[in-house]
């Protein structure tokens, strides 16, 4: 079947080349049938890449080790669900996933705009097929997912143990959906500039896709953070890692665009800014893919090799140069139709919010690419750490949260000072109340966290007031009950109130971040059974060691040969709170030089974190058993010299028994973090709000509201 897969790639390349030519010829010559044929090339690309993807999936699920990618990233003992997800753990498979998702989203975008903006859509088609062609060419010439090997290996290497977690099955497709969706506004933005049609229509066409990109990227980022917190042994959810940052940057510029596009829709302003944001977001998405796939910067998330750097750099250079040329050459038609009426208006707040978001993006960009910049300028690689990022991002995040509370209570166009004073009364009262309560509770040791809590309270006050007043106005008009009025309010103004819910979610999320990072208690120490330690208000006692052997032929095999852990008793003020059982899995390596027993444990060990999760705090634990302790190391050495590979598991069983009978002192990592749960709850609120804002209004409601507005405008027409 590898032949069919590769034939699909070749066919996809031909389809891309033809589609680009047909679209450009169609739009330049006015021959609509060619533009139409170009659009259908995107559908065909989606079909062909779907077949290619299915071929690779079938190979993974069927353990077809003739495929190099299957042999390198899967094995018979990898559980079926992880085998299905292993497709995108390899360089080659992830490129195919990228191209496939791009073709699907592009098809949807072009299908929805098939009756509109034919000239813009034709250019967009060519650009999207250009991206598709680029990724397909990478697979054909550099990283072929259908490359085979002979003789066929009897067994594969298996999936990287770090990726054997449910969140990692969903995280990459979400992130890649976000990245690929970012290229759709970019393609339409470039198309609008090329077609010289930078009006309201292209903004309307791409709005939902920009929103969907923001949503998918956000979900991907949150899932990555959740994976990092609950699976990796360091206890953090964000480490300012290069790949994490790469996904955050387009999300930030995308957030800025979602705000500033409203100003263009309403006032015809900020056209240069908006089109620049769209182009920057798309380019940053490609750069994000480049970081993961080129391996150019060190990252725990970078799974690619070093072969794709040059083609990606060329693509990014073309994108940046093309974007600058288009914006500069079309600057005359991008002039604003109106000017800012007042500094006290929602437009002003949105502009401030845009500056903060882009400022955040710039800081993160500088910090992420600093190693490359430093190497280019001084010849020495240097990097910046979390304290550097925190120094600049924390104040900007505080301003951002504050602005997310100010914007909703200020009117479009112009607000009077008297109205503003009246509207700010409740939010300021909420912030002051929060300040008094927190100071009274003695939470004054971390001023920045305190400011964040007060800003969040300001947001709750501001948005709460908006919902209250909106529902009150609705009740006055329709005489509905409070719950009905609230539902009707949101249904009829999805973008506005969905956006407000997003603001609430962000405030909740930042409360979680501020509390967990400022008031965390941690302890890293070595304990023997029976010993205990105090972490914050909790006492944690090492009760006894645990050990599990899971032979590779076992049905419940998770991939690790041996798992060593501990049973921990967590108490508070003498009362039992939880029992935790952190462990570390030891995996086989394919290095025969480690010996028959050593090779069963020689792979990368993976920590299995244990937590007691609560709304107010999480007690988090990880363990690093000392498998190199003299007693245990001797068993491995003796086993290597006496046992053949087929009997090596006997030594592992003996090692496990020895670990339980004579446990060596073991290294533990404990964290007590307040309000971590609220980061994830905030994330869920953000994406619920995002979905509400993205969801199209029911056609009946839309028609009724449009008819009412038309009637009102017509009354003006009659008077005119």
């Amino acid at each position: 079947m590898a032949g069919l897969g590769f034939a699909c790639l070749l066919l996809a390349l031909v389809v891309c080349a033809y589609g680009i030519g047909a679209s450009l010829y169609g739009v330049r010559s006015g021959r609509v049938e060619f533009s139409e044929s170009g659009r259908r090339s995107v559908y065909a690309l989606a079909g062909v890449l779907t077949v290619a993807f299915v071929v690779l999936e079938v190979a993974f699920l069927g353990n077809d080790f003739a495929f190099n990618t299957v042999a390198d990233t899967s094995s018979r003992t990898t559980p079926a669900l992880y085998r299905a997800a292993a497709v995108w753990s390899s360089q080659e498979g992830s490129l195919l996933l990228w191209a496939w998702l791009l073709s699907l989203w592009s098809s949807l975008a072009l299908f929805l705009t098939r009756k509109r903006m034919r000239d813009v859509a034709a250019y967009a088609t060519a650009i999207l097929l250009g991206f598709g062609g680029f990724f397909v060419a990478l697979m054909v010439f550099y990283a072929n997912p259908f490359a085979t090997t002979h003789p066929v290996p009897a067994e594969g290497v298996g999936l990287d143990p770090l990726l054997r977690f449910p969140t990692m099955m969903i995280h990459p497709p979400m992130l890649y959906s976000g990245y690929t969706l970012c290229t759709i506004p970019l393609a339409f933005g470039m198309g609008a500039l090329l077609a010289r049609r930078v009006d309201a229509d292209w903004i309307k066409a791409i709005r939902r896709f920009a929103f969907a990109a923001w949503l998918f990227l956000g979900v991907g980022i949150m899932l990555g953070a959740l994976w990092s917190y609950s699976e990796l042994g360091w206890g953090g959810y964000w480490g300012w890692d290069a790949v994490e940052n790469a996904s955050l940057m387009p999300w930030l510029t995308g957030t800025a665009f979602l705000h500033s596009l409203m100003i263009q829709e309403k006032r015809g302003m900020l056209k240069v800014w908006n089109v620049s944001l769209v182009l920057a977001t798309g380019t940053l998405a490609i750069m994000g893919t480049f970081l993961v796939r080129s391996g150019i910067l060190d990252s725990i998330h970078a799974f690619g090799g070093h072969t794709l750097g040059v083609p990606f750099v060329c693509l990014i250079a073309v994108l940046i140069a093309g974007s600058i040329y288009l914006v500069v050459s079309r600057r005359a038609m991008l002039r604003s139709e109106h000017r800012l009426d007042s500094l006290l208006s929602r437009e002003s707040v949105f502009i401030a919010n845009n500056l903060v978001l882009v400022g955040l993006c710039f800081v993160i960009f500088w910090g992420t690419y600093f190693p490359l910049i430093s190497e280019a300028l001084t010849g020495q690689e240097a990097s910046v750490g979390a304290p550097w990022f925190d120094r600049y991002t924390v104040p900007l995040a505080l301003i951002l949260v504050l602005l997310s509370g100010i914007g909703p209570v200020i009117a479009w166009r112009r607000a009077t000072l008297a109205n503003a004073r009246r509207n700010f009364r409740v939010p300021i009262a909420c912030a002051l109340l929060a300040l008094v309560v927190l100071l009274a509770a003695g939470i004054d040791s971390k001023p920045l966290a305190l400011v964040m809590f007060c800003c969040a309270a300001f947001v709750f006050g501001s948005i709460g007031q908006e919902f209250f007043r909106g529902a009150r106005a609705r009740r006055a008009m329709a005489g509905e009950s409070v719950p009905l009025a609230l539902v009707a309010l949101v249904r009829r103004n999805r973008r506005r109130y969905g956006g407000y819910i997003v603001h609430i979610g962000m405030a909740v999320l930042f409360i979680g971040v501020a509390a967990s990072s400022s008031f965390q208690h941690s302890s890293q120490l070595s304990l023997s059974p029976g010993q205990s330690t105090r972490v914050g208000a909790f006492r944690i006692r090492y009760v006894r060691p645990t050990a599990t052997i899971t032979p590779r032929y076992d049905a419940a095999h998770t991939g690790s040969t041996l798992s060593l852990g501990a049973l921990l008793d967590v108490t508070k003020n003498g009362h039992h709170v939880a029992t935790l059982d952190p462990s570390e899995g030891f995996y086989a390596s394919d290095e025969a030089s480690q010996g028959s027993v050593g090779s069963l444990l020689g792979g990368q060990p993976v920590s299995h974190v244990a937590m007691d999760v609560g709304l107010t705090r999480n007690v988090w634990s990880a363990i690093e058993p000392d498998i190199k302790a003299p007693r245990l190391a001797r068993i491995v050495t003796d086993g290597n010299s006496t046992l053949p590979p087929e009997e090596a598991l006997v030594a592992i069983a003996y090692l496990a028994r020895e670990y339980i009978k004579h446990p060596p002192p073991t290294q533990f990592n404990f964290l007590v973090s307040p309000l971590v749960m609220w980061i994830w709850i905030g994330g869920v609120i953000v994406f619920t709000g995002g979905l509400i804002a993205l969801w199209p209004a029911p056609s009946v409601v839309r028609r009724r509201v449009a008819a009412r507005t038309r009637a009102r405008a017509s009354r003006g027409l009659a008077r005119a």
Binding site: V32, E36, A44, G47, K204, A411, N419
Partner: protein, 107 residues
Amino acid sequence: MGVQIAILTLVLVGLVVLVVGAPLRRARRAEGSASGAGRSLPEDAPALSPASERDELEAAREAKYREIRDAELDFRTGKLSREDYEAIDADLRAEAIEILNRLERLS
């Protein structure tokens, strides 16, 4: 297996040609059946310029309607004084009327 793959590949190529080439075949048929000279476009393919202008104006109209609704909501939720609301609403309606007039002229 090799033959099966070759057949599957050919089927795939055939399907791609069928999907991608459909608009070209349709246009050629239309050209052939059209009496006299000139190329005729498919029925659902209006010429670019008037449709483009109408699309633009319709998008601008929808945006203006939304702006009128937003201003009303801003007033009802206490963000705009009555004087400011009436002035803004009158401006917005005038702008909406201008767009409606242009749309009417176009049709």
